[in-house]
């Protein structure tokens, strides 16, 4: 465990505690005395599935390139976070394994590490995928400061959040292609630390609020009988 490991762990704890605090505030729903016309559960199911598809959402079908870039960008972010956590837990994550793979011998390993060729391809796959997703982030960033309306709507946090997340994905990609370099993983850990400390300050909090928003949306239209999974008209 290096100092970078500890910094990252501290940032993760800080971020987790912040998220938990907001999450707890979102659990208690205001009481609604109106009689339902439809089902809340059905509406929420619809809201989290079909309603997000380009067939149903104008923000998707009228803006397909941005929508697709956004989806890829978000997948890239979550992939990077998972890879980061695995690297934090397993010292030899995605490295060729030569010794004894038992926990407690000072090293830990990952199940793929006995098959080196496979691991190389896997690393290459992640590197390319994350390069693509971070380019999507760059594209969205460029759109943000070139599109007149979007620029007017944006604040410093909108730019910073994008830059931090995009850099985080890029560093994640670099670690995948240069596993033996001494600086790549520490750089990724520092980037991760910055990201997780910054996250609770600005818009990145939407990782929690997005879920709550989809719930509220589905609950509203579900209860009022507007959205339901059974309705063939959708």
């Amino acid at each position: 465990m290096t100092i970078f490991h500890w910094l990252l762990i501290a940032a993760l704890v800080f971020c987790f505690v912040s998220c938990l605090r907001w999450f707890l505030k979102l659990i208690k729903q205001p009481k609604d005395y109106a009689d339902p016309k439809g089902s809340v559960a059905d509406g929420v199911t619809f809201s989290c599935t079909k309603a997000m598809l380009p067939t149903h959402k104008e923000s998707a079908y009228l803006h397909l390139p941005t929508y697709i870039a956004g989806i890829i960008y978000h997948i890239g972010t979550f992939t990077s976070i998972i890879l980061l956590l695995l690297q934090l837990i397993f010292t030899n994550f995605m490295l060729p394994y030569t010794g004894n793979c038992e926990m407690g011998d000072g090293t830990s390993c990952f199940i793929f590490s006995s098959n080196w060729t496979f691991v190389v391809y896997l690393r290459l796959f992640f590197a390319v995928a994350l390069a693509v997703s971070s380019l999507c982030g760059v594209a969205i960033l460029i759109k943000r400061f070139t599109n007149k309306e979007l620029k007017a709507l944006s604040n410093i946090d909108d730019y910073l959040s994008n830059i931090f997340v995009t850099l985080f994905q890029m560093f994640s990609a670099i670690v995948m292609v240069a596993p033996y370099s001494t600086w790549t993983q520490p750089a990724l850990f520092i980037m991760g630390t910055i990201l997780f400390i910054y996250m609770p300050l600005g818009k990145l909090r939407h990782v929690i609020y997005f879920l709550s928003a989809r719930y509220q949306l589905g609950a509203f239209y579900g209860k009022r009988g507007v959205w339901s999974m059974k309705n063939k008209k959708h």
């Binding site: 979102l26 959402k57 923000s59 803006h63 300050l201 509203f220 009022r224 507007v226």
Partner: protein
């Protein structure tokens, strides 16, 4: 004066603070400024300015929230683009939250996150209401309702005279000298409600519904004290006023022993009574509510009235009122009725819960301050109607009827606008 304003601003901030529940916290925190909502909003589509984007409207209120309720907003107000509740912000709020949103909610389902945008706009309106900054024209409508019992300040005698006068028409129509429109009758099943513009200027829709009720042998009454289904207090963000208006109708139903309130063809009024009212009163109603549209559909299904669809052969289309359809779940009933009453029906596109607002919702029709914008955004609806080629537009909302009449003349559509009750009465 300065001190007074500071005090009023504090009142607005306290209001925001005391209303921060899970729903509002979610709505104020989830916009990511993706900027994809503009193309779903009538104002942005028609006027193409960034201040009309739903996200920009949300950000006015969310920016105030961030300034006073988040760590970053308190310490680094510039970072997250927060707004001080100052004169500049307030002016912007009045201009776009009152003057550039019909609260139709079309943007909500199309938002990439699903932010309840009209809910945020209404919260902003409530804050302005706390500061006494509601546009004069709409405030006087609220005052009239609260002070006189109806939003047009119609006297009780005038109301009685009009209804009595309509009796002649009804008797002639149904060929029965004993047919009357019941006033203040106890022991009936249903209490009917109207929009005051009906007795005042457009009583044909009352004749129409009376004819339908006569033929369906319904047990119903109008009350001469409280009959106004509209609730403009809801639009201006006056929760206490909205509660008073709701409670009056509920008490009136109880007074006459009715177990159901029929919500007349008024979109926002139906929504306020059906969905919001119980929450203002903090209890479930002791009576049921049903919209006139649902009731008429039920009559036809049960065979209580038998419309003859050969009587109306002109091409008919439906305009879906936002408050009744997208925000109220009354979606297929009006289609069932129109298909039973008319031989030629065509949908406008988009329709149902994705329909565009008439352009007069959210109190716009009552705010002459923003008339020019209202007519401009109405063009979208005008184009939609023209594309159907219909001769008759049916809509179960008097507010929509009036706005559609305006755009009918402005954009020379040459169509006739009718309520559901009128089209049913025509087919009987």
């Amino acid at each position: 004066m300065q001190e007074d304003l500071t005090e009023r601003k504090q009142k607005a901030l306290d209001f925001l603070n005391s209303h921060l529940n899970a729903k509002l916290i979610t709505a104020l925190n989830s916009c990511v400024h993706c900027g994809l909502c503009g193309t779903s909003c009538q104002y942005y589509i028609a006027l193409k300015e960034e201040k009309y984007m739903p996200a920009a409207k949300v950000d006015l209120v969310a920016g105030i929230y961030r300034r006073y309720h988040t760590f970053a907003g308190k310490v680094f107000p510039k970072l997250t683009g927060t707004h001080e509740l100052d004169d500049e912000t307030i002016d912007k709020m009045v201009d776009t939250l009152f003057g550039a949103c019909t609260m139709c909610g079309r943007c909500v389902a199309h938002c990439s996150v699903g932010v309840d945008i009209p809910f945020v706009v209404r919260t902003g309106r409530m804050m302005l209401q706390q500061m006494g900054l509601v546009p004069k024209s709409i405030q006087s409508t609220v005052d009239a309702a609260l002070n006189t019992g109806n939003n047009m300040a119609i006297s009780k005698q005038d109301f009685i005279d009009t209804i009595t006068w309509l009796n002649d028409d009804l008797q002639y129509e149904v060929n029965d000298d004993n047919a009357t429109i019941p006033l203040n009758q106890s022991g009936v099943k249903m209490l009917y409600t109207v929009n005051p513009r009906e007795p005042k200027f457009f009583p044909l829709s009352i004749s129409a519904i009376a004819k339908v009720f006569y033929l369906a042998k319904e047990s119903w009454t109008l009350s001469t004290d409280y009959y106004d289904i509209t609730n403009y207090a809801y639009f201006v963000g006056d929760e206490e006023g909205a509660r008073v208006i709701t409670e009056r109708l509920v008490n009136e139903a109880i007074k006459y022993g009715a177990d159901t309130i029929i919500l007349g063809e008024c979109g926002h009024g139906s929504r306020a009574m059906r969905w919001e009212g119980p929450n203002w009163m903090k209890e479930k109603y002791p009576v049921k509510t049903i919209t006139a549209v649902e009731l008429l559909a039920q009559y036809i299904r049960d065979g209580r009235i038998k419309p003859d669809k050969t009587k109306i052969t002109d091409l008919v289309t439906i305009h879906d009122p936002c408050n009744l359809v997208r925000n109220g779940g009354v979606i297929e009933e009006q289609r069932y009725i129109v298909n039973a009453c008319c031989s030629n029906f065509v949908e406008m596109n988009p329709n149902r819960e994705d329909n565009f607002c008439c352009g007069g919702g959210g109190g716009q029709l009552a705010m002459s301050e923003y008339n020019e914008r209202r007519m401009k955004i109405g063009k979208i609806k005008a184009d939609q109607i023209r594309a159907t080629g219909a001769k008759i537009v049916v809509t179960p909302c008097h507010n929509c009827v009036d706005q559609l009449n305006s755009i009918n003349l402005e954009y020379k559509l040459g169509v006739t606008i009718k309520t559901i009750a009128e089209i049913v009465a025509d087919a009987l």
